[in-house]
Symmetry: C2
Subunit: 182 residues, 2 copies
């Protein structure tokens, strides 16, 4: 009778899930945006921790990202490091206090953990294709980890990025890169 489409149901479920999760985050020390930025910084490699990269990842503007990073910096959860080679650019590294905050599991993660292996995998795959399609739709970057990138070359000591022309350690290769390409 009433024509609520499957598409709208899914859209609504994603929205509610995020809202429920965000409501929990507000009770913590950080707001959802700050938490997302901090989480990104903890997983991004050293070439991908500038304000512009955070802006790209969070799908916002450089101005907004700058403010969020300043807020995190005031709380001493991240620390800014100016680049030697390019005096314009800045890199934000997470502090030990910042890492501690990320350790506290959210209500959403607890709930996701209750899914069985197969459901979990299927869900991840569906979401991945949706995110990829959205990125394509608006011309955003994929932000994958180095080892799945076409510029990544495996070596004896770890890896090598053919785009940036730098050697990568084992942990580097497991981190998110701004330049990631499939």
């Amino acid at each position: 009778m009433t024509g609520i489409s499957q598409t709208q149901i899914i859209q609504d479920l994603i929205d509610r899930l995020t809202r429920l999760s965000a409501a929990e985050e507000w009770n913590g020390p950080l707001n959802p945006s700050q938490f997302a930025a901090l989480s990104y910084l903890s997983r991004a490699n050293r070439f991908s921790r500038a304000p512009s990269h955070v802006a790209d990842y969070l799908a916002t503007t450089r101005g907004t990202a700058s403010q969020t990073l300043k807020a995190l910096s005031r709380k001493e959860l991240i620390k800014e490091t100016r680049s030697d080679t390019d005096k314009r650019s800045i890199r934000y590294d997470i502090t030990s206090e910042g890492s501690d905050i990320l350790k506290t599991a959210s209500g959403l993660s607890g709930v996701i953990e209750t899914l069985d292996q197969e459901t979990s995998q299927t869900l991840a795959d569906s979401l991945k294709s949706l995110v990829l399609a959205m990125l394509q739709h608006r011309g955003g970057r994929s932000f994958g980890v180095c080892k799945t990138c076409r510029h990544h070359q495996k070596t004896e000591t770890g890896g090598y990025c053919q785009l940036l022309e730098v050697p990568l350690s084992g942990s580097d290769a497991g981190q998110i890169c701004h330049e990631h390409a499939l």
Copy 2:
């Protein structure tokens, strides 16, 4: 090597998907919260359109919901109606201008539509169980449509709600209710 769990990957994908979708909404006339509230009002039945119900649905406080509704009201997208029976309560109805705004499809819905029938169904099921678990976790209401409620009784003319003790029309039964229970 690096231990990024499947749980974190899923959490991150949901967050990114929402952020990408929210970034598109900001380019429209409404911000994500206003859009979500408006969308809810368009789908809720007449017993579920009060500020407190919107707050419950959006997982926020009455204060915040009140402000969002006032903002929508200023834009003439919804209109407030005071109740006769209970002079404290208010019901917000969507205006025709409000309905028009909801018609514009978002980037996310376009992307969801590209999923095949089976993937779409599986995704909806997974998300539904996550939302339900989150609601249970924090003691929220389910907000389903009347016809799936245990208080709903099918009749000749449409339906009947045993909880509120009111007859329901066919379209009523397809709308979201605050008192929904499984």
